[in-house]
């Protein structure tokens, strides 16, 4: 299939349909409303269910109810809306229900802003709701990867009977890029859903899909069963990508999503100047590539590690846990909806290496961004 130019939000919606999603429930919120608009048109065409709910609170439970049928269902929202869904996500985790939840992140806390941010990292990977549970979190850094991971998200949700989140900053949802959908979507065999879905108690005992266990022994058993599954995730589902990682690297950057792409630009520029920097990009934020980061960061040639995020340092804590104090770790971040210019990241790296920036004019095409960056620094 030829590549087509698509907006991230619409590509995510189409990917869900290609992955066999039969139900989509939503509530409008910027910057992800295009998913809802696309689905409102597309779902009737493919015989699926589209429903705009009365709130994200209700939508969370519509997903719970719809997932109980055993069919593939999902929702999309943005940060404040995702906060409202945390209760339902906790209930779905407790009840072992598969669903895909997409968070096209905007700046917070509170109502925050509507521009791209990565400040929902803690909420996503540490369990935004109550109880002993985790959510498998995938973070694309391009529209194509959003498509690929969206399809993977449905597969993993069904494989593990668990809620899976795809988180992208607003840039992933709003920008247009060429994407290619697989001609035929093939998956490895999955567990039989008729073993657990609420399909009517014909010729079998009634099934109860619930997260309530008043007997503490049973609740503890459920929590340890979940924990056993999370151990399997940490063993089998860690995903990451290395960019220009080699034994000449002086600095290892850890960054994800849109921020990682900006770091790649910086790495390319520095490479041309003879400064070697590598990037480790976590693709799964939970399970986190802890061992992979440890292995790369503790290599002899790495002098320092730099975590770069569009937040005030959230993933940094997981990077610190991965490196266990064996290498110095620094942080650079912008937040509140500001996407850093490559020059800002570059300046940070130069400072870390004890180099002063050359006074020469920035590369062509970046003048405006560089000026902006300088202006920000002055503030």
């Amino acid at each position: 299939m030829a590549k087509i130019l698509m907006k991230g939000n619409e590509a995510i919606a189409e990917a869900a349909i290609r992955a066999g999603a039969e139900g989509y429930f939503c509530y409008p919120i910027t910057p992800q409303s295009e998913v809802a608009e696309y689905m409102a048109k597309r779902m009737p065409e493919v015989g699926g269910v589209f429903l705009q709910g009365e709130s994200e609170v209700a939508v969370g439970y519509m997903i719970f109810g719809a997932a109980s049928t055993g069919k593939r269902v999902f929702t999309t929202s943005s940060s404040p809306g995702i906060s409202l869904m945390q209760e339902a996500i906790s209930y779905m985790a407790g009840a072992h229900l598969p669903a895909v939840i997409v968070n096209i992140m905007r700046g917070g806390p509170g109502l925050g802003g509507i521009l791209p941010a990565q400040s929902d990292y803690f909420q996503s990977v540490k369990g935004g709701g109550h109880g002993d549970y985790r959510v498998l979190v995938l973070a694309p850094s391009s529209v194509q990867e959003a498509v690929d991971l969206m399809m993977l998200a449905f597969h993993l949700a069904d494989k593990y009977r668990a809620p899976v989140m795809l988180i992208g900053d607003g840039m992933i949802g709003q920008m247009m890029e060429p994407v290619e959908f697989p001609e035929k979507y093939e998956e490895e065999p999955l567990p039989d859903k008729t073993e657990w879905a609420a399909t009517g108690s014909k010729d079998r005992k009634p099934r109860i899909l619930k997260s309530l266990f008043l007997d503490p022994e049973k609740l503890e058993k459920n929590s340890w069963e979940l924990d056993d599954m999370y151990k399997v995730w940490r063993r089998d589902e860690v995903r990451h990508e290395l960019y220009k990682v080699n034994d000449k690297n002086r600095i290892l950057i850890v960054s994800y999503g849109t921020m990682a792409r900006i770091c790649q630009t910086v790495i390319d520029e520095l490479e041309a100047e003879g400064i070697s920097v590598g990037l480790l990009r976590p693709i799964s934020l939970y399970p986190f590539p802890t061992e992979q980061i440890h292995a790369e960061a503790t290599k002899k040639n790495i002098e320092q590690v730099l975590t770069v995020e569009m937040s005030t340092a959230q993933m940094l804590e997981d990077v610190q846990l991965a490196i266990l104090g064996k290498k110095p770790i620094d942080f650079f971040g912008r937040t509140g909806g500001i996407v850093p210019a490559p020059e800002e990241v570059r300046a940070k790296i130069m400072t870390m290496l004890g180099c002063s920036e050359p006074k020469a004019a920035p590369a062509a095409g970046r003048t405006a961004a560089a000026k902006k960056a300088t202006a920000r620094k002055k503030r």
Partner: protein, 255 residues
């Protein structure tokens, strides 16, 4: 033939054989039975899914002999919506108390009713939060003593009780809304007719339907089961009139 034994009263197939956890004098058990009888009579048990609330009937799935989903507090109509939309061939009902439906779940019930979701809601109103120990509910009567209105519900600060059936009847979409009670055999028979009718409408693809059932709570009202029946008759029925508010025939009148 003279010695043949004929069974004239049995446990409905849609109820499980289990020991009740409901308090003596509580009418949840009667309402459970009426729902189960209706499911049996319509022959839909094998394609029925119930949604349990949070409250005394949180364990409803321990009594009904059909698949069940356990909702968060107030969210049963959202679960029922999601399920029924994906499986319109199934029969779906929510069973909710007044704290669950009329307080924390008010948004969900209004919007499910207004969208005309094709499921049935059994709304059990006993004018109090039962499971948490008798706190004031949106349905607690003026002057009624509860653990969080120890001097009686003060309408100056807590407002007047919400009449859910009347409120939902202001919407144009719902097709069947009726309030019944189960404190006397006569009322039980009438309640059964209403509950069965609500399920029938769903089987025919018509809905939204809601049956509000006035119920007793001797434990939290601080009354004997017998006194509770009289208290319900004397206090709740005048405030919450037993009435058919909406039928498919009258639905057009409000549109």
């Amino acid at each position: 033939m003279a010695n043949a034994i004929t069974s004239i009263f049995e446990r409905p197939v849609a109820l499980q054989e289990t020991v009740t956890h409901y308090c003596p004098g509580c009418t949840h058990g009667i309402i459970h039975r009426l729902v189960a009888e209706s499911i049996d009579e319509l022959g839909v048990r094998e394609r029925t899914v119930g949604v349990a609330p949070v409250g005394c009937s949180v364990l409803a799935y321990n009594y009904f002999n059909c698949d069940f989903l356990e909702a968060a507090h107030g969210r049963a109509p959202a679960l029922a919506t999601g399920f029924k939309r994906l499986r319109p061939d199934m029969i779906v009902f929510t069973y909710q108390g007044d704290g669950d439906l009329a307080s924390i779940g008010m948004a969900e019930i209004i919007h499910a009713a207004n969208r005309g979701e094709k499921f049935t809601t059994i709304f059990v109103n006993n004018a109090i939060y039962g499971m948490t120990g008798g706190q004031m509910a949106p349905t607690t009567l003026p002057g009624q003593v509860s653990t969080t209105s120890p001097h009686g519900r003060d309408v100056a600060t807590a407002g007047y009780p919400i009449r859910v059936s009347e409120l939902l009847s202001t919407l144009a979409t719902p097709l069947y809304i009726e309030r019944v009670a189960v404190h006397t055999p006569r009322h039980v028979i009438r309640a059964k007719q209403a509950i069965r009718r609500a399920f029938e409408y769903q089987v025919k693809g018509l809905c939204f339907s809601l049956v509000e059932v006035l119920s007793t709570c001797p434990t939290n009202w601080g009354k004997t089961p017998d006194d509770s029946i009289h208290w319900l008759e004397d206090n709740m029925v005048p405030f919450y009139p037993l009435k058919r508010f909406r039928t498919p025939e009258t639905a057009g009148e409000v549109r």
